[in-house]
């Protein structure tokens, strides 16, 4: 199979862009957290400054502000952890990965995008681990592309489900939005196929108005860029 270097290049530039998008999204969230903490501490300051002999400190408000601050700190830590894990996924290119983790992580990382699109993004994952060989980063990359395409097509308040199923030899990740045609360019398809190939999967975009994208892993089967549209 002849690989076009342009397509490889496009796939790689997409890799950087993907990294940038996720990092940017997390930075935004972190920033919101920090802004809120800042306002909370500002409020505390206001409260303390307001203390006069005849007006004692409003303990209740202080405590509630502090509680809110703790919530924000926790949220911030969660983002930091996500960012850390995500950044390290790019750091460790090839490994045996648990697809459950990978799907869960990329879905978590895509929540801000889902929020901005006002889409409910939910996962359906199996109980047991689903092992594949490949780069977690690249797997997240191709999943993110699918997620983004499906979420962009989905309307406000609609649901996008990422379903991972493992029935023996066949592993499928299904990204299913509402039944609506997904508008993607041929170039987008090429790059996505190429990225799927990189993690040993076959990318299938279901035709018509199904609004579904599938990634198959079938051990022992030659990986072919198969597209049905």
């Amino acid at each position: 199979m002849v690989r076009s270097p342009d397509r490889d290049l496009a796939a790689r530039q997409n890799g950087f862009a993907f990294f940038g998008a996720i990092t940017a999204s997390l930075s935004h969230e972190l920033n919101n957290v920090l802004a809120t903490i800042k306002e909370l501490s500002g409020l505390l300051e206001d409260l303390v400054h307001a203390v006069k002999p005849e007006r004692p400190l409003n303990g209740e408000r202080v405590i509630s502000s502090l509680e809110k601050m703790n919530v924000q700190v926790e949220r911030g830590r969660r983002y930091v952890k996500q960012l850390n894990r995500f950044a390290h996924s790019a750091d460790e290119p090839e490994a045996a990965i648990d697809l459950c983790d990978t799907v869960a992580e990329i879905v978590a990382l895509s929540q801000r995008l889902a929020k901005l699109n006002r889409v409910d993004l939910i996962t359906e994952l199996p109980e047991q681990m689903v092992k594949i060989d490949g780069s977690s980063f690249e797997a997240q990359h191709v999943l993110y592309r699918c997620l983004k395409a499906v979420m962009t097509a989905a309307g406000q308040g609609e649901k996008v489900v990422v379903r991972l199923s493992d029935d023996g030899p066949r592993i499928v990740v299904e990204v299913a939005g509402p039944d609506r045609a997904i508008d993607v360019s041929p170039e987008w398809l090429h790059v996505t196929e190429r990225l799927a190939e990189e993690v040993g999967a076959v990318f299938v975009s279901e035709g018509g108005d199904s609004g579904k994208m599938l990634l198959h892993w079938e051990p022992g089967r030659a990986v072919i860029g198969e597209v049905r549209l």
């Binding site: 920090l34 802004a35 306002e39 409020l43 929020k115």
Partner: protein, 143 residues
């Protein structure tokens, strides 16, 4: 000049609540909404001296909201709050006639100053409008 009317538009609930509280202690008359759509409704109901607008919001984003606010009332004094705008966004925001672009987290003093500036601008603009109208009336009827 106290009790300036301020509208806070941000989807980050905790943030907007606390900010509202703090501004209120600084004797501003604060309303808050969690989306661009709501902001348009509110702005249609009341005339605000200043509108603090977050850039990244679900649904209608900050830039779109800004454009519509300025369409509804070209005198709207909008201060855009953002995590960090790209240069391209910043240019667009300035073109759309925002008063200022402040990066989150923002110092309350800077914000208060911005709001006062907005209120002054607004006041001056409405004075100007009144003057223009008066002049027009004089021209038309008073000779």
């Amino acid at each position: 000049m106290s009790h300036e009317k301020v509208l806070l538009v941000d989807d980050e609930k905790d943030f907007v609540e606390v900010l509202a509280m703090r501004l209120e202690t600084r004797e501003f008359d604060v309303d808050m909404v969690l989306s661009g759509e709501e902001a348009l409704v509110k702005a249609g109901q009341r005339g605000y001296d200043a509108i603090l607008l977050d850039l990244a919001m679900p649904g209608m984003d900050g830039i779109e909201t800004l454009r519509r606010l300025r369409e509804i009332n070209p005198d709207s004094q909008v201060i855009v709050l953002t995590g960090r705008a790209t240069v391209k966004q910043a240019t667009e925001i300035m073109k759309l006639g925002a008063l200022d672009l402040l990066e989150k987290p923002v110092d309350i003093e800077v914000l208060v100053e911005g709001i006062s500036q907005a209120a002054t601008n607004k006041f001056r603009l409405s004075e100007q409008r009144i003057a223009e109208r008066t002049e027009e009336i004089i021209k038309r009827h008073g000779w």
